[in-house]
């Protein structure tokens, strides 16, 4: 290399985005950063599809009469909403986009351990998506996202098979992502990066991966059995042939309850990064926050029966599951308290990512506490299958997981694209989201408590006011999603170029240029200190 005195202009510097061009260079890429962007495009599409069905649901529920859709159509609408949002958006959202992009960078690696498998998992995701989209256009599916037997295995005349195949295939994508993360985090950390120097984002993703590895195969086999039963009428879940439909619920929730933690844990990891950065403080109780992720992952496998309190499950098993469910509150509360303690007396700057983080902490707390109501055997008999449950899990998944996802997306957007997003618009949309979200889902707690069951397209007149509030909130929520979509896309071209570290954040990913070069690090970094060494003085946020 010749000695050049002036630094080369920024535009000519090669990074992962401009290193090669053309559709092929993207579709055959093995770069974890590009694969993250492939996922970003894909999950945004499925989010829009799921959102479309949400619009249908809220439109139908404006009036008490079932006037917009046939009951069958409504069943399909909420099923497709659930399937799209849970399997195709929430589960991959943070791990497959932010995790894929950041896990290697945060641990000082050039890529994930298995880049080809990483690309393969995106293709598997897309194939699963094609099957499910086919099911959607070929008539839809009406079993609810839970596919409860024997309705799904024996009676439903909708596209259960195509959807089941789609979700079965999709599961492998999730498994392979988790496998990749586990191996990468174990084997590819930079020198000096010991386990207790890892960013909490990594701990959260490690815990998530463990769930993906251990849980997903069980739902896969449950789906296979439903498929076999539908195809050959063998009767494993059919009471007429001696089968037990509740067994399906066991196998299904063995995965699908921990799957809730697949959705929320990565967002919790994001929040830990945001809270420390924007309060310029070290995380309060690092070890507790890290271990609480692992604890949530492990305890999450012991509580699945709380979905089945009124299903015919033994009441004794119900008691055990109820007590175990309360245990999950402990690590969850540890996280919330530690984030709050981190904020306490910090030099807080209310940048957009922190707004999302604060939103997360509040909404997740409400979602978590209402979860305790539902974990209580007797209270659940009253609240089971009402809008209270719907409100509860939307507070966790939308108020929690999506807030974390959007907060993280904003936080790392300069790193991903090399551009800054417009801060004013971003703050506005964060506020709109928060207001819209609460207006949509808080009335549902009241509705559920008053006894409005979920999954009905018509309801008694006295529930109308609260339902109209909910639908009005949903339209505000929609605006809150559309604004970021517009300005983020706009910023990719017109945003101000981002410096390497616009937030003055710690972490290895901020020490390399934005956007990063293809192999992330020219030289493998050596880590010599703990994460989050912030000091109040160096608060130099753009």
């Amino acid at each position: 290399m010749s000695t050049v005195l002036t630094a080369p202009p920024v535009e000519t510097k090669t990074n992962y985005l401009n290193e090669s061009y053309g559709i092929k260079s993207w579709l055959l890429t093995k770069d974890h950063k590009r694969i993250a962007l492939l996922y970003l495009a894909a999950i945004t599409f499925f989010f829009a599809v799921g959102g479309f069905f949400a619009v249908l649901i809220r439109l139908e529920l404006i009036t008490p009469a079932g006037d917009l859709m046939q009951p069958e159509t409504y069943n399909k609408a909420f099923t497709m909403h659930g399937v799209m949002m849970i399997f195709f958006f929430l589960i991959p959202a943070v791990p497959a986009v932010l995790g894929n992009f950041l896990v290697p960078m945060m641990i000082g690696a050039r890529d994930l351990a298995f880049p080809r498998i990483n690309l393969l998992s995106w293709y598997i995701y897309m194939v699963g998506g094609v099957f499910t989209l086919y099911a959607m256009v070929a008539g839809g599916v009406d079993t609810g996202w839970t596919f409860y037997t024997p309705y799904s295995s024996t009676y439903s005349n909708t596209q259960v098979m195509a959807t089941a195949i789609g979700i079965f295939i999709l599961g492998f994508s999730s498994i392979l992502t988790g496998l990749n993360f586990i191996v990468t985090i174990h084997k590819m950390r930079a020198p000096g990066l010991t386990w207790f120097r890892l960013p909490l984002f990594i701990w959260a993703h490690y815990a998530t991966s463990v769930i993906q590895i251990l849980g997903t195969p069980v739902v896969a086999i449950a789906i296979v059995l439903v498929g076999l039963e539908r195809a050959f009428r063998i009767g494993i879940f059919d009471p007429k042939l001696g089968g037990d439909p509740i067994l399906f619920q066991h196998l299904f929730w063995f995965y699908s309850h921990p799957a809730v933690y697949i959705m929320i844990l990565p967002s919790m990891g994001v929040i830990s990064e945001l809270v420390t950065c924007f309060s310029r403080k070290k995380i309060f109780g690092y070890g507790f926050v890290a271990m609480s992720s692992v604890a949530i992952a492990v305890l999450g496998f012991l509580v699945w029966g709380h979905h089945m309190f009124v299903s015919g499950q033994s009441v004794y098993a119900g008691m055990v599951f109820s007590i175990l469910s309360y245990l999950v509150a402990i690590p969850s509360a540890i996280k919330v308290f530690n984030w709050t303690a981190t904020l306490y007396r910090g030099s807080i700057s209310y940048q957009t990512p922190l707004l999302y983080a604060l939103g997360f902490i509040g909404l997740f707390t409400i979602g978590g506490l209402t979860g305790l109501f539902l974990a209580n055997l007797a209270v659940d008999v009253h609240l089971h299958d009402t809008y209270f449950v719907v409100g509860h899990f939307h507070y966790i998944m939308v108020g929690g997981a999506i807030m974390g996802y959007l907060g993280g997306l904003h936080f790392w957007w300069p790193k991903i694209t090399g551009r800054l997003y417009p801060e004013g618009w971003a703050r506005l949309s964060a506020l709109v989201l928060f207001v819209g979200f609460n207006l949509t889902f808080f009335p549902q707690f009241i509705l559920g408590y008053l006894g409005m069951p979920r999954r009905y397209h018509a309801y008694p007149e006295e529930f109308q006011v609260l339902n109209v509030m909910s639908s009005a909130g949903a339209s505000i929520l929609a605006v809150g999603y559309i604004i970021p979509m517009i300005y983020l896309i706009w910023s990719m071209r017109y945003g101000k170029p981002a410096p390497a570290n616009p937030w003055g954040a710690t972490g290895l990913e901020w020490q390399i240029p934005s956007p990063p070069p293809s192999y992330n690090f020219e030289k493998t970094p050596v880590v010599t200190e703990e994460p989050y060494v912030y000091s109040h003085e160096e608060a130099q946020v753009v």
Binding site: L247, F301, M308, S314, V315, Y316, A317
Partner: protein
């Protein structure tokens, strides 16, 4: 790179043990031991599986992490089957209400 190369006779001995255990499990199945027979059958199967894992799959000389992964697999299998059975084995403790 530390590679532990097992002598051939170890593999042959393990194979012989597996064969003996296979014959044993068939042989004991001819005796009616009631509920005990499933215990014996599973005990033999677990022994055989352990031999395969330790010797054929080299778990004996594997890093701690590998052993941890194996233990995790076993634990989660116990969780899955155990908690599922906690439902089935206690369902009959309370008499079913009328109409079932």
């Amino acid at each position: 790179m530390v590679t532990h190369i097992e002598p051939k006779r170890v593999y042959l001995a393990v194979f012989a043990a597996l064969m003996v255990l296979t014959v044993l499990t068939v042989w004991v199945s001819y005796f009616d031991m009631g509920d005990l027979s499933i215990v014996v059958a599973l005990a033999i199967a677990v022994t055989k599986a352990t031999l395969v894992v330790l010797f054929f799959m080299h778990a004996r000389h594997s890093p701690r992490l590998t052993k941890f992964v194996i233990a995790a697999g076993f634990c989660w299998l116990v969780i899955l089957i155990g908690l599922t059975l906690s439902d089935y084995f206690t369902r009959t403790w309370l008499p079913l209400p009328q109409g079932w």
